[in-house]
Symmetry: C2
């Protein structure tokens, strides 16, 4: 099967299938889309490489889902509504079963977010999936990393850490190993992450900064601190610990939550007078939102044991050494 | 060096360097750009993989140029003005000399076309360069593959075929081989192609369809014919044969021009009453534009020896068998 047949068979949508927002869709030199007047365009790109970002044994439908999810997550972190994406697929061979499953997983998530595949490119080579996603956001209302202010609360969505637990299970580093039902559940967190797209849009006007947790909660929060030129204190006892992580040793819980990444939850900051708005979002979305610390003027990231809001000279707050560092693709594997 | 340092050192521009059109640039979850009111957004994506699209020995500055050039060429074929691009770079290792040269070649061409690098992603893995480019075009004025009409002229820009001649020289298939000065010249055509961005914009309102020649003149013209539901006749004697190709056997000349690709010239169609407008563009741009055939209602592509415009039953027109087929990434190398 040739390149053009491949794209047409597996990735083009027929009338009535999926969103059709492109003025000119797949199959010309460019796709042409018409942004809504008054909106700005948010753009992000992410590549997944076999052996680096996913295991060669992963179910291709889940891989299709995840490849788009990590990109939608970047739009979520900017508060943007998804519009369209392009797909650059490098394949070692044309495996029709693989392509069928991969495209189904990819396009199902795309449909869910009304995000149209508007362009693509296939190449023979080692398996890699490159996606560039485009969304729109009202002019001047994108959520940035640079807006955090001293005094803001720090929040995290969902139950971070499960994806890392799954990865360590695959690596065989966990002692004791996971129970089968736990393994199945955390594997879903790793392979089928939910991009927090609706949360991101709901946080426009509520949050002062946001980022998605791809490389680890501490590392990604660090990006907010640097770009906002502020520091932070986190209360480890306030962190949400999922039922599956609660089965694990406490050091492992913290490793997974603070340094895990790959969950694609959002970390965001907002002033204390927005707590009710955040709680309203939590109710509306049915998504746990947990306050885990606060932004401070003093640079650096401080970790504490103790109770949230017992900040000022409370002897019950005990400092904890930060032994977690950010994941970096060129320093080592996560 | 970590991923973030790498991106910042080699790919971020400082104030006063390069275009700054992004509202929010590199370094957040998304870049945010504001399209000009009334314009539509043209988007295209292309990946270059080592061993497939370029030789491992290629000069990295030229590789940086070419990776962006092939994407700008897609914007040119739509008549769009470049705005911004994202870069997904997969690298086997962090080679600072390579990155310095690559980024210089890439960003020099980007500056020339006022096209800003607004997002990026680096990954460890086999060398591959994925670019998604965005441009803008007045609403409803994009050049499409689907607009060719029976009676239109068929034109090609520049001197197609030299890139293929260079590739065959690298492969050692040419007998006799190339003279050194010829090799140097055609190698430039292969490694430093000029995307016809200004021509594409000039063709808005003049051309009825356009495509860039990446896979071979006949194959790419075939896309216009299929999408426009028309056929065509080409006059082989009308093809532009560059000085370097003129040194070669005539069968090789035709192979390179008709099936070569990788030159990123434009093939376009326009009605005969636009010939003066095309000639005016040719003068204005200092770029050869050659009329090589015509669009016909009868499906299929017919090749002839003889003189242009001697169409109607002229016995001097001799049919030629089409022994050239389109390049296809999964059917074989070009």
């Amino acid at each position: 099967m040739g390149e053009f047949d491949l794209i047409e068979r597996y990735f083009w949508r027929r009338a009535g299938e999926g969103p059709h927002r492109a003025v000119i869709g797949n199959g010309d030199d460019c796709a042409v889309i018409a942004p809504t007047p008054g909106m700005q365009l948010a753009v992000s790109t992410d590549t997944l490489v076999e052996g680096r970002h996913f295991l060669s044994t992963v179910n291709p439908a889940r891989l299709g889902h995840k490849a788009l999810a990590v990109n939608l997550s970047d739009l979520a972190a900017c508060g943007a509504r998804p519009l369209a994406f392009t797909l650059a697929l490098t394949l070692p061979r044309v495996d029709q079963d693989w392509l069928s499953d991969f495209s189904q997983g990819l396009l199902a998530l795309a449909d869910e977010h009304d995000c149209e595949l508007i362009g693509g490119d296939t190449t023979a080579g080692p398996l890699a999936i490159g996606i560039t996603v485009m969304g729109e956001v009202p002019a001047g209302h994108a959520l940035l990393r640079s807006g955090a202010q001293a005094g803001d609360d720090i929040w995290v969505s969902g139950w971070p850490g499960e994806a890392r637990l799954a990865l360590e299970a695959f690596r065989g580093t966990l002692h004791p190993g996971l129970m089968p039902h736990t393994f199945d559940a955390v594997r879903m967190a790793m392979e089928l992450p939910t991009p927090r797209v609706t949360l991101g849009q709901g946080l426009r006007g509520v949050a002062t900064s946001a980022i998605d947790v791809s490389d680890g909660l501490l590392g990604d929060l660090g990006h907010i601190l640097r770009r906002s030129r502020v520091g932070a204190s986190l209360i480890l006892d306030a962190l949400p610990i999922s039922a599956h992580l609660q089965e694990r040793p406490s050091a492992e819980q913290l490793d997974c939550i603070l340094a895990g990444g790959d969950d694609y939850e959002l970390v965001f900051t907002s002033p204390p007078n927005q707590r009710e708005a955040v709680r309203a979002l939590e109710q509306q979305l049915g998504l746990l939102l947990t306050r885990i610390g606060r932004i401070e003027a003093e640079p650096g990231l401080r970790l504490w044991r103790g109770e949230l809001d017992q900040w000022e000279g409370d002897p019950a707050l005990k400092p904890v050494d930060n032994r977690w560092t950010s994941f970096d693709h060129f320093k080592g594997t996560p």
